[in-house]
Amino acid sequence: MSDEIEILIEGEKVGPADGWSLAWVDHHQRVAILRRGPDREVVAVEGSGGEWVVTVRGRPIAVNVRSHRDRLLAESGRLAARHGGPAEVRATLPGLVVRVDAALGDEVAAGDPLVTIEAMKMQNEIRAPRNGRVVAIEVVLGQAITGGALLVRLADPEP
């Protein structure tokens, strides 16, 4: 584990330790207490790999962890996206997946519906941001999703 990591919150790098020590309050529910001198806070820590959510004072905070390798991949991903490369389509609101309109391998045009999400009693069609090929569908029918959840990955259309 010599891999050097970077911790990002709202896109900004945050120093990792900062003098806090962690002890689990409930390992099963991922609840921990952090202490730093006289200061203390009980938080929930969910996630794995690169995507985490820490609930601090009732507020869920998205935390991204990137290794050196991830940073290189992200950089090449940005380059690829600029050239019409892979795209991640995400939910804008929390809700329920009520229809999966796209199938794996589908060639879709910009504006084609991919997934339909019901949120606040309204159905929202999540559409393809550009032409492409569906290379992964990350949700299933009936699944409850959070805002920002990854729905579909698009790759370049077949030549």
């Binding site: 709202e10 820490v54 009732g58 507020r59 905070i61 929390p94 992964a136 409850a144």
Partner: protein, 505 residues
């Protein structure tokens, strides 16, 4: 004590169904749960002695289906039905239907609901009882712009006369805006109700929302159990309630209680109801409406009055009379309730969805929790997103605020955004700690919520760094999974189970 009933069906779900079931248990009454398809494994079903399936997930086909609920009551041989709040609790038709099959409806009589359910009828009742209502005016479709509007003064509210609730309400700040608002409200009123009559009402702002709890028996005995302040609201929905209302003169407190008593005596009334008022800066008060049911915030009144309102609902429904210590309870201390909703305060209190991962609740002196969920519970999106109510009781208001802050620091919910983040912010606001706030607090002071602090970021980063160090990542597994198929393709509990398995190795 002989139980008031042998068996009661509770026509509701979630935390309020469990609250009513607890009262039943303490009174020696058998409780019958009802559940839809989505609620087969819900905590409220397990909390009761029996359970009856009432239909598919949509509320219209289950919790709102009078036929299905009466059939469940017949099958389970219940003697009475407690409606909780929401769903059918304020339906006069339901109350009549229950009585018509020979069962007892645990709530005010249908006549009370009819006399006070419609906003205009309620205002007429209040005026007849000598209780002040906000100055208002009915404007028929033919009347372009009545001159009496100027007597009401600005700002004012314009809305369709038919129908109820906060829908289609327009604020008008001056004469220049009035014609456009009248036209728009008329068009909407015609479209929605086929009746172009609109209603103009003085807007009281800044105002506090203060309400009085009533309990009545069938022999005319009436208890006025004091007032609650429910001013902290979003979208006209309450978030925080407290009893007694802070910073109110003794004269206003007595005046509110007397007004509530007069309204209750103007209609046939028994069981539990609440009379709502607006109170402005100079403590003038206006009747708003009467809720002919148990309220979500009944618990704060229970804590300060010592009266178990739900138990007494059941007892008076069975014909028992209110004893003197309930009619004239001695109020003690101060109580505050915060509602834990699955809503994201940072995105306009939009409903959130998901599975509850962590559910750690406050404990210790002066804490009461009325919850309807638990860790591992997947929230159905079909129903109201109220997860639980956290209540504190202490000797006075400052002690109650301190206790609430302590309780919130002990409370951890994860898996979805909740209103806990708002509540934790609230208890540090001078307007709240001083008890000087009005119904505009959420829109004026919270707005879209505070940004992350340096401490928030530092804690979140440290938690992730610590958790990564503590948890052994199933590295081989992770590496062979196709990219992206971790968080979204997998249910949280299977993820948890997998890492637990690794932990045991």
């Amino acid at each position: 004590m002989t139980p008031p009933f042998r068996r009661v069906l509770i026509a509701n779900r979630g935390e309020i169904a469990i609250r009513v079931a607890r009262a039943c248990r303490e009174l020696g009454i058998e409780s019958v749960a009802v559940y839809s398809d989505a609620d087969r494994d819900a905590p409220h079903v397990r909390a009761m002695d029996r359970a009856e399936w009432i239909g598919p997930t949509p509320a219209a086909e289950s919790y709102l289906s009078v036929g299905a609920i009466l059939e469940a009551a017949r099958r389970s041989e219940a003697e009475a039905i407690h409606p909780g709040y929401g769903f059918l609790s304020e339906s006069a038709a339901f109350a009549r239907a229950v009585e018509s099959v020979g069962l007892v409806f645990v709530g005010p009589p249908a006549e009370t609901m009819e006399g006070l359910g419609n906003k205009l009828a309620a205002r007429r009742t209040a005026v007849a009882a000598g209780v002040a209502v906000t100055p208002g005016l009915l404007v028929s479709a033919a009347d372009a712009r009545p001159s009496e509007v100027e007597d009401i003064g600005y700002p004012l509210l314009v809305k369709a006369a038919a129908g109820g609730g906060g829908r289609g309400v327009r604020r008008v700040d001056g004469p220049a805006e009035l014609d456009a608002a009248l036209d728009a409200a008329r068009a909407e009123a015609v479209a929605a109700f086929d009746d172009g009559t609109v209603y103009i009402e003085k807007l009281v702002a800044p105002a506090r929302h203060v309400e009085v709890q009533l309990l009545g028996d069938r022999a005319g005995g009436l208890a006025v159990l004091g007032e609650r302040d429910c001013s902290i609201q979003r979208r006209h929905q309450k978030l925080v309630e407290e009893a007694p209302a802070p910073n109110l003169s003794a004269a206003t407190r007595t005046g509110l209680a007397d007004d509530a008593r007069r309204i209750a005596q103007a209609v046939p009334f028994h069981n539990a109801a609440t009379v709502e008022f607006l109170v402005d800066e100079s403590e003038d008060r206006w009747f708003l409406e009467m809720n002919t049911r148990l309220q979500v915030e009944h618990g704060v009144t229970e804590l300060v009055s010592g009266v178990d309102i739900v138990a007494w609902q059941l007892r008076v429904a069975a014909g028992e009379q209110l004893p003197p210590d309930v009619r004239e309870p001695t109020s003690s201390g101060h109580a505050i309730q915060v509602r834990i909703y699955a809503e994201d305060p940072w995105v306009g209190f939009a409903p959130s969805a998901g599975t509850i991962m962590a559910w750690q609740m406050a404990d210790g002196p002066g804490i009461r929790l009325d919850a309807g969920v638990e860790a591992g519970y997947e929230l159905p999106t079909a129903y109201d997103p109220l997860l639980a109510k956290l209540l504190v009781h202490a000797s006075d208001r400052p002690a109650a605020v301190t206790r609430l802050r302590r309780a919130l620091d002990e409370t951890v919910v994860s898996g979805m955004p909740t209103t806990l983040g708002f509540h934790r912010w609230l208890v540090d606001q001078p307007a709240f700690t001083d008890g000087r706030y009005d119904t505009g607090l959420v829109s004026n002071a919270w707005v879209d919520g505070p940004p992350l602090t340096a401490r928030d970021r530092s804690l979140a980063a440290a938690a992730v760094a610590g958790a990564r160090g503590e948890l052994t990542e199933p590295r081989g597994d992770t590496d062979t999974r196709p990219a992206g198929l971790d968080r979204n393709g997998d249910r949280p509990w299977s993820r948890l189970a997998r890492s637990e398995a690794v932990d045991r190795e």
